[in-house]
């Protein structure tokens, strides 16, 4: 064990405080909502065939979406990892996170621009006199959209894992003239396998709570998720008890699926080399494999970029300069960035506290049940927060603050907190594996040098962890920038964010303005990703 007693206590208490804060924030909202309704309404939920029907569909489409996204992400990530140096690679990596930062409707319109009835794909087939065969509205539309948003996310997380593999492994493999099959079995798969449960869990939750995409591309109420029922309960029926009951159902059943995912392979040797710079991969120098990888990456890039290109083309038609100088735009940008930054920092703080505490508990040889339980709760929290609908959190807090006339002042803080919770699972998945590798590589050394506390942070931890921390921060900010759900609860004159402004222009027929704003939002996300994926200055990664 490489922690001093004081360090152990500090890590543990930070984690417990963060856990209490997260649980408290959710519990307060749910309690204040539940107190508003009648218990009978909540109980009735379980007896409705309608609820069970949409629940079944919710889980079905989420399972399929997750399966396809992850299955396709693995070869993409492997190909990207094998080709660390081809031109433009870092731009593909950066673009992978851009869809996350767009309001869902905008992404959906981009997808429809390519795959829709009048989309580019059907246009081209039509030119070839093949008609317009692709019909995306229905389950296939939901799947296309979910894979569009989640395949890049999964590929990015898996790629990050592969990039932590020490170079020596691949050099050795090349010296042994190991066939690619064996490289995969002996080096790559052991790295990917433990990541799959986490990545799949995250995507599963995103798909299970998907709402706008499912409604737009699902074709009709035959394709509906439980999230729609929750919105209906709060929005139209104003039945908080029913909304809470439906959320409970959503959490319990999705948690069961996630628990099943936890049985996927875990553990794996993260390696002990100090060097983690991705260099050339001597094991992958065959011409055939290079051709295959480039083809795969090119296909993936097209898949990723085409819908974004639709957004760029549409946005270019707007009066961008005019938009940029509007005072309301500047205000909205400032608000958006402030909320995104606070949310990202909060998510980072919670994630770091969780990681520190879980790490500390893992150093115990035989942890007491309390410690084991705390570590379990922190891991579970990091997964499950996405399942609590923002509308439930927002309405609950609104109810609570209203009697004190605080809804005004507290609104930005609550929106930021909700966004932080939504970003938490992403941040954890970026940071947890990076921290695990870092610790296993440096803990012994740091302990033997007697480095601890701030000195270790400065000399050992910050240089090694700066990149994943910045990436996580950029991810969380992008996510929060595109969010509409939380801000729509409180939004209005005093709290105008960019997505809010975008929707309000759409709602006033000002489609051009909305297209321009979508382009600006996408560009902002890209800028964030550039900041979050800057190669360390002294590491010479051959990327520009």
């Amino acid at each position: 064990m490489y922690l001093t007693g004081a360090e152990f206590r500090r890590s543990l208490s930070a984690g417990l405080v963060a856990l209490l804060a997260v649980l408290g924030f959710i519990a307060v909202a749910v309690a204040s909502l539940a107190g508003f309704g009648r218990l009978a309404d909540a109980a009735a939920v379980l007896n409705e065939p309608y609820v069970w029907r949409i629940l079944r569909f919710t889980l079905y489409q989420a399972c399929l979406s997750t399966l396809i996204s992850v299955a396709l992400a693995i070869p993409v990530a492997l190909a990207m990892a094998r080709r660390p140096q081809f031109p433009g690679r870092i731009w593909i990596v950066r673009l992978m996170a851009v869809p996350l930062g767009l309001p869902v409707l905008i992404g959906a319109l981009g997808i429809i621009g390519i795959w829709g009835r009048q989309g580019l794909f059907n246009d081209m087939l039509d030119l070839a006199a093949l008609g317009r065969p692709l019909q995306i509205y229905g389950l296939q539309g939901i799947l296309i959209a979910h894979v569009y948003f989640n395949l890049p996310l999964a590929a990015r997380l898996i790629l990050a894992g592969l990039e932590r593999v020490p170079q020596e492994y691949f050099k050795t493999a090349a010296m042994l003239a190991m066939p690619q099959r064996s490289v995969f079995r002996l080096i790559e798969w052991p790295v990917i396998a433990p990541l799959i449960a986490g990545v799949a869990g995250l995507i599963f939750m995103l798909c299970a709570t998907s709402f706008t995409l499912v409604l737009i591309l699902g074709g009709g109420p035959a394709a509906t998720t439980i999230e729609v029922a929750i919105y209906q309960a709060l929005r139209f029926d104003f039945n908080p008890a029913r909304a809470v009951a439906l959320s409970g159902l959503q959490i319990v059943l999705t948690a069961l699926v996630l628990a099943a995912l936890a049985f996927l392979p875990r553990a794996g040797d993260p390696g002990t080399s100090a060097s983690s710079e991705a260099g050339r991969r001597p094991d992958a120098d065959h011409r055939l494999s290079r051709g295959f990888d480039f083809a795969l990456i090119a296909l993936f890039t097209l898949w990723l970029i085409l819908p974004l290109a639709v957004i760029v083309v549409k946005g270019a038609g707007a009066d961008l300069i005019g938009l940029l100088v509007e005072p309301v735009f500047l205000r909205a940008t400032a608000t958006s960035l402030a909320i995104a930054l606070s949310a990202a920092l909060a998510a980072l703080a919670v994630a770091l506290s969780f990681i520190a505490a879980i790490g500390a508990i893992r150093t115990l040889r035989a942890p007491e049940p309390f410690y084991r339980g705390s570590a379990g709760a922190m891991s579970a929290m990091g997964s499950l927060v996405l399942l609590v609908p923002p509308i439930v959190l927002g309405t609950g807090w609104f109810l609570l603050l209203r009697p004190f006339g605080l809804t005004d002042t507290a609104a930005p803080a609550i929106v930021a907190a909700i966004n932080a919770l939504m970003a938490l699972p992403f941040v954890l998945r970026v940071l947890q594996p990076a921290f695990a590798v870092h610790r296993s590589r440096t803990a012994r050394l740091a302990a033997s040098l007697g480095l601890s506390g701030l000195a270790r942070l400065r000399i050992v931890d910050w240089p090694g962890l700066r990149r994943p921390v910045l990436t996580a921060l950029a991810f969380a900010m992008a996510l929060s920038l595109g969010d509409l759900g939380a801000v729509a609860l409180f939004g209005g004159d005093q709290l105008t964010t960019l997505p809010w402004l975008l929707y309000s222009r759409l709602g006033s027929y000002r489609t051009d303005d909305a297209n321009g704003l979508a382009l600006i939002l996408g560009a902002l996300c890209l800028v964030l990703m550039i900041a979050g994926t800057r190669a360390p200055r002294n590491a010479g990664r051959g990327q520009t």
Partner: protein, 337 residues
């Protein structure tokens, strides 16, 4: 809600930040409204200026997402609500609004207004109206529907995008329209119509976005939607269908609350709603029809807008009583395909 109040259908009770910043001197009138009423494109700024010029007070708008969110917010706040005026509920919400017991009699006569089908209420004052209708792209559709039967039985490759009645008011409007025309046959008609439905969008913005990007040649919107394209974009491409069965009307209303700090001031605002100072801002800022005299004649695009021979409307209490059952019926019919 009128076309441009339908934003953010995925969102919920939009709680615009409530106002507590009262002016240092002079009276403040707090008006709850839907958010788009008070954007720079909306009528809010014009209305504020016009009323402030005559009342010696400050008008403070507080925005909620749309009419439904507005009512929910009021229910949440109850008697502690700082709202003096609630502006932006509609005929389908009046019943529920009255049941809250939070509204006071207006004392404003609503008898002689230019509202098709007539409107008379002692609590709510109407400020504009509009019709839900099928808006189509005249470059893709040669023979637009002239009856609902045309729509229901039309070619299945000419698609329409509608809104979901579970999450949006235009969706509910379409549901009520079909119910008003077909009654007990509505479910069967929905089942037939479902073959023509491209998709069901969560709200107006999503549906209209699909329509203008060319995915579907028809959308459920408002008779006044083409006026926007004519006036702001100078194109006649988008038209509203002239449906013989009649169109379902939406009447937007304002009311004063029991909690109004200065009831006389609130009442004078409700009187002001029916004067040109307010009505002038309606057509080209709210894209709805005014209910009373405007200073200038309406723009040609409004004068030529589709006006049905028959105005369809359920009594507010009938809507409140049957909404859930009718939505269930719709769900079943639409899922049967």
């Amino acid at each position: 809600m009128s076309a441009h109040h339908m934003k953010i259908a995925i969102a919920a009770l939009a709680f615009g930040a409530a106002g507590s910043a009262h002016a240092q001197d002079g009276k403040v009138l707090t008006v709850y409204t839907y958010e788009s009423f008070n954007t720079e494109w909306g009528p809010g700024p014009l209305v504020k200026d016009a009323f402030e010029a005559q009342c010696g007070c400050t008008v403070k708008f507080v925005g909620a997402e749309d009419g439904v969110a507005l009512l929910n917010r009021l229910k949440l706040e109850g008697r502690t609500s700082p709202a003096d005026i609630v502006l932006g509920l509609d005929n389908n919400l009046i019943h529920e609004a009255k049941e809250t017991g939070l509204f006071a009699a207006s004392g404003v006569s609503t008898e002689n207004l230019a509202i098709p089908g007539g409107f008379d209420d002692d609590i709510f004052v109407p400020f504009d109206y509009g019709y839900f209708d099928i808006v189509y792209d005249s470059e893709s559709i040669e023979t637009p529907p002239t009856t609902l039967d045309d729509l229901v039985n039309g070619p299945s490759d000419e698609k329409i995008v509608i809104e979901d009645p579970r999450t949006s008011t235009p969706g509910l409007g379409m549901l009520l329209w079909m119910k008003a025309v077909y009654g007990d046959e509505a479910a069967a008609k929905w089942e037939t119509l479902s073959k023509r439905i491209l998709t069901v969008a969560p709200g107006w913005s999503e549906a209209y976005g699909l329509f203008t990007s060319g995915e579907a040649p028809m959308v459920l919107s408002y008779t006044t939607s083409p006026a926007y394209h004519q006036i702001a974009e100078e194109t006649d491409r988008y038209k509203a269908a002239d449906i013989e069965d009649g169109l379902y009307v939406q009447i937007e209303v304002a009311g004063m609350t029991e909690m109004a700090e200065d009831p006389a001031l609130a009442k004078s605002f409700l009187e002001f709603v029916l004067t040109p100072g307010f009505q002038d801002a309606i057509p080209t800022h709210n894209w709805m029809m005014p209910v009373a005299q405007t200073s200038d004649p309406l723009p040609a695009a409004f004068q030529n807008a589709v006006m049905p021979d028959k105005t369809l409307q359920f009594a507010p209490d009938v809507v409140a009583e049957n909404r859930q059952a009718w939505i269930d019926e719709w769900l079943n019919a639409m899922s049967a395909r």
